[in-house]
């Protein structure tokens, strides 16, 4: 198929038609922040962090396929404000205590909060009462930290297989629900690690193994989120 032209932040790029705007931007060194997106899983556009102005409308870059002569803005003041507000909403909605979290330094939410220089959310904390589910021998589920991105739900072996993780309830009372019976049966160390890696925050933690890498030497401790894509970013 012939290539198309897409304009991102005032510059033309040639791209494959149908490819998602997020991926085209990434290929060209333009970082668009994401949370619910995970390489290799079908995107779903629920965190709304990757919202861009696409042909004049706010659309999620992870779910919008590129078309010829599409005009995309990724980093206007308005968009950055939307993103930082969403990060703040997530901090206010859950119970995120970074210093005590195994994922600190490897956490995408924390890393985005640093990117947006959040000191304290503009919203009052809700301090919801949430459970810690430690019943499974391999993994621990901390609902306090879950941002409901559905990455664990969507990362199944096969689309038609019974689910390990699902949503339960709706609205602000939605939470991840785990099929313990199935996970007990199917989860080995490798799958447990995979589940933990899939989670952007510290909601899924592998048991019997932790703090392999000391705090201070973790992924985003060294390089801010997105710095592997965009250049010229410093902490």
């Amino acid at each position: 198929m012939s290539k198309i032209l897409i304009n991102i932040n005032g510059k033309d790029y040639s791209a494959e038609p149908g490819k998602m705007v997020l991926d085209i931007a990434k290929e060209n060194g333009i970082y668009i922040p994401t949370l619910c997106h995970y390489e290799g899983i079908k995107p779903q556009g629920s965190c709304r962090i990757c919202t861009c102005k696409i042909d004049g409308r706010n659309m999620t870059a992870c779910t919008t396929p590129a078309s010829h002569r599409m005009v995309v803005e990724t980093n206007t003041e308005e968009l950055e404000k939307i993103r930082s507000t969403i990060v703040e909403l997530l901090f206010a909605e859950g119970n995120h205590f970074c210093p005590a979290c195994e994922r600190s330094g490897n956490c995408e939410l924390q890393a985005l909060a640093y990117r947006y220089k959040m000191m304290v959310p503009q919203f009052p904390y809700i301090f919801p009462s949430k459970d810690l589910d430690a019943e499974n021998p391999k993994i621990l589920i901390d609902h306090n930290r879950c941002i409901l991105c559905k990455r664990c739900i969507r990362r199944k072996k096969e689309p038609d297989n019974p689910s390990w993780f699902v949503f339960k309830g709706r609205g602000h009372t939605t939470q991840i629900n785990v099929d313990h019976e199935l996970i007990d049966k199917e989860f080995n160390d490798e799958l447990a690690q995979k589940a933990m890696d899939t989670c952007p925050v510290g909601a899924i933690i592998r048991k019997e193994k932790g703090f392999d890498v000391p705090i201070g030497e973790r992924k985003y401790d060294k390089n801010p989120i997105g710095s592997d894509i965009e250049k010229g970013v410093t902490l």
């Binding site: 995107p43 779903q44 556009g45 629920s46 965190c47 709304r48 962090i49 919202t51 706010n58 999620t60 779910t63 919008t64 396929p65 308005e78 404000k81 939307i82 507000t85 969403i86 909403l89 997530l90 206010a92 909605e93 503009q122 919203f123 009052p124 809700i126 019943e135 021998p137 941002i147 409901l148 559905k150 038609d160 019974p162 689910s163 390990w164 993780f165 699902v166 949503f167 339960k168 309830g169 709706r170 609205g171 602000h172 009372t173 939605t174 629900n177 785990v178 099929d179 313990h180 019976e181 199935l182 007990d184």
Partner: protein, 606 residues
């Protein structure tokens, strides 16, 4: 593992489950163990057992090759499904704005006193369950409740006492004292006026080519009546041209917008018109299957609608070779929802119809390309499809002569609230709000909520605006709010809570911001607000606009539109001389510990 026993007590201790969910095989067989029919399975189990127990979940999961949590995932999304028993008689009392206006609190109190349990719980003997529910489409005859799928309207404390007495005496639901649903059609227009022979509309359509049918609809300039106003002919053309194994016609009858009940009236008073419209749509897009997605609140009309469909089949207007047209086969089935406002959003509706949670889909692809079961699907509103049948019967030219240039035809408006004659009014587009207020006998009007909570709350300076796509667009309702109402507390707060309740929970801004909006509004109502609070709420609107679907986009509208149109009500409540009001009450916070320690708090100061 020893802790496995405690994990799911319901599993290990099945005698907790008192329902008769042993007979699930018949239900599962009825739907061929098909996971895409999970909604129907859950509805039948819920109706048979009064809940979908852990035991039932396990049986269903096994039959449709899901894990148990997959079943719970769908089940827990819908308001009318429950994992715990909801009582032999399950009362769902409407708690929407107009129900409150019409004295719902008194009714709720009487229910609680008579039944001996609080709302949100079941009486000790398991007989009566009391639950709140969002608008049930009876705003013109509130207070109303649904009890075991039957609707009880115009409730009084006397009636409630009789109803509860009946329940205590094991009456059949049908034998409980109650007032039947009224249609209250108070003004008929081109859609509601009865025609002698609707079969003619279908017969006329099938003598034309499908393309010509679409062209005729295009000439009529018909636009979707759900609220968005998308041209119907364009939707059909996209759908017809999309490739797929099968095409589907959906009628969106998930009329959940509080204050709207005109589809309910069409469904009970002009169902033939609607089904004719669906059949014509099927012919136009090349479909042999139509699905009426009906909200669970309207379950009471199921038997009646099935009878209408049977009669149409007998008359040859549904089924094989419809209206004598060789090769045009078309039939309609009813798909019920399970109680979720969001399923009125077309892609959420399709998800729900496939047995899943009603979460809106990402677009593109649009339903006309990949809809129900990933096949091309035209989803149309009830009223739109009725207009289709009329246009085929009387012609595009006739239709175009009605309404305004940009908004052709008529609009059914559900009017409720503080007025003398609540009911359904069919007016041509172009009527002003004032015209309607006069028709319904509304005096001393403070505000009019146009198009439900997701619409606009307007003040008298806008009552001269026209109902039309180009001016004041509406999905079909006006709620009249009288001068004596506390707009922020009685109306805006209720609407905001409604959106919190009905958000699917997928998009962050919709899920989390609605809660922040409510907290902020309550802060202002309590008298703790400062000027900056109002500015913040206005600024947050931009973030709401980044949500995926219409619910998320409009969930802040009750607050935003009243800040814009009734700013003085907010200003009157805020503290002008300060930019910070502490909400923290130190004395209250330390009260308990002081009591425990037997000390008098030292709060500083004098």
């Amino acid at each position: 593992m020893d802790n496995k026993q405690s994990r799911n007590p319901e599993f290990s201790n099945n005698d907790n489950c008192t329902c008769e969910c042993n007979d699930l095989d018949a239900i599962l067989a009825k739907y061929n163990n098909d996971p895409t029919r999970l909604m129907d399975i859950l509805i039948d189990v819920q109706m048979q057992c009064g809940c979908v127990s852990e035991k039932a979940v396990k049986v269903i999961a096994k039959a449709i090759n899901y894990s148990s949590v997959d079943v719970v995932q769908t089940l827990s999304f819908y308001h009318f499904f429950s994992q715990t028993p909801t009582g032999k008689y399950t009362v769902y009392l409407n708690d929407s704005v107009v129900a409150e206006m019409m004295g719902r609190d008194e009714i709720a109190k009487t229910f609680e006193e008579e039944a001996g349990c609080k709302f949100g719980s079941v009486s000790e003997d398991g007989r009566i369950g009391l639950f709140n529910t969002s608008c049930i489409g009876m705003n013109d005859q509130e207070p109303s409740a649904i009890i075991n799928q039957r609707v009880f309207t115009k409730l009084t404390t006397e009636k409630v006492k009789k109803i509860v007495r009946g329940m205590k005496n094991d009456y059949d639901t049908e034998d409980l004292i109650g007032t039947e649903v009224q249609s209250n059609i108070l003004k008929q227009g081109p859609i509601l006026t009865k025609d002698s022979n609707l079969g003619e509309a279908i017969k006329k359509a099938v003598t034309m080519s499908p393309e010509d049918v679409i062209e005729e609809i295009k000439q009529s300039n018909l636009r979707g009546r759900g609220g968005a106003g998308f041209p119907t002919a364009m939707k059909w053309r996209f759908c017809r041209n999309a490739e797929g194994e099968k095409h589907y016609v959906f009628c969106n009858a998930d009329e959940g917008e509080p204050g709207t009940f005109k589809d309910r009236v069409i469904l009970t008073d002009r169902p033939q018109l609607l089904f004719a419209g669906m059949t014509i749509a099927g012919y136009a897009i090349g479909s042999d299957e139509g699905i009426l997605y009906l909200r669970y609140e309207y379950k009471y009309m199921e038997k009646f609608l099935e009878e209408v469909l049977s009669k149409l089949r007998e008359e040859g207007l549904l089924g094989k070779d419809v209206a004598g047209e060789k090769g045009f086969n078309f039939d309609i089935r009813i798909q019920f929802g399970g109680g979720a406002y969001i399923c009125g959003e077309e892609s959420a509706l399709l998800e729900s119809a496939e047995g899943k949670r009603g979460e809106p889909r990402d677009r593109p692809p649009f339903p006309v390309v990949k809809g129900y079961l990933q096949q091309p699907t035209a989803v149309n509103n009830v009223e739109t499809l009725c207009a289709v049948a009329k246009i085929m019967h009387k012609g595009a030219k006739w239709y175009r002569s009605l309404g305004t240039l940009e908004s052709t035809g008529s609009k059914l408006i559900s009017v409720s609230g503080d007025c003398e004659k609540p009911g359904v009014y069919e007016v041509e587009w172009g009527f002003t709000v004032n015209d309607i207020l006069e028709l319904v006998g509304a005096k001393n009007v403070q505000a009019v909520q146009v198009g439900g909570p997701s619409g606009n709350c307007i003040a008298s300076n806008e009552f001269n605006r026209k109902l039309a796509y180009e001016d004041l667009s509406t999905g079909g309702s006006l709620i009249v709010i009288g001068n004596e109402r506390d707009l922020l507390k009685d109306i805006v707060l209720n609407f905001t809570e409604f959106f919190i309740e009905e958000s699917c929970g997928s998009c962050v801004p919709c899920r989390a911001m609605t809660v922040q909006y409510k907290n902020k509004l309550e802060k202002i109502i309590r008298g703790n607000g400062v000027a900056d609070d109002i500015d913040q709420m206005l600024q947050w609107e931009n973030v709401m606009k980044s949500n995926r679907c219409g619910l998320g986009h409009t969930a802040a509208n009750p607050i935003i539109s009243t800040i814009k149109n009734f700013r003085e009500l907010y200003d009157a409540k805020i503290n002008e001389d300060t930019d910070f009001v502490s909400e923290f009450d130190l004395e209250a916070a330390v009260a308990e510990s002081c009591k425990t320690a037997g000390r008098v708090p030292n709060l500083g100061g004098e």
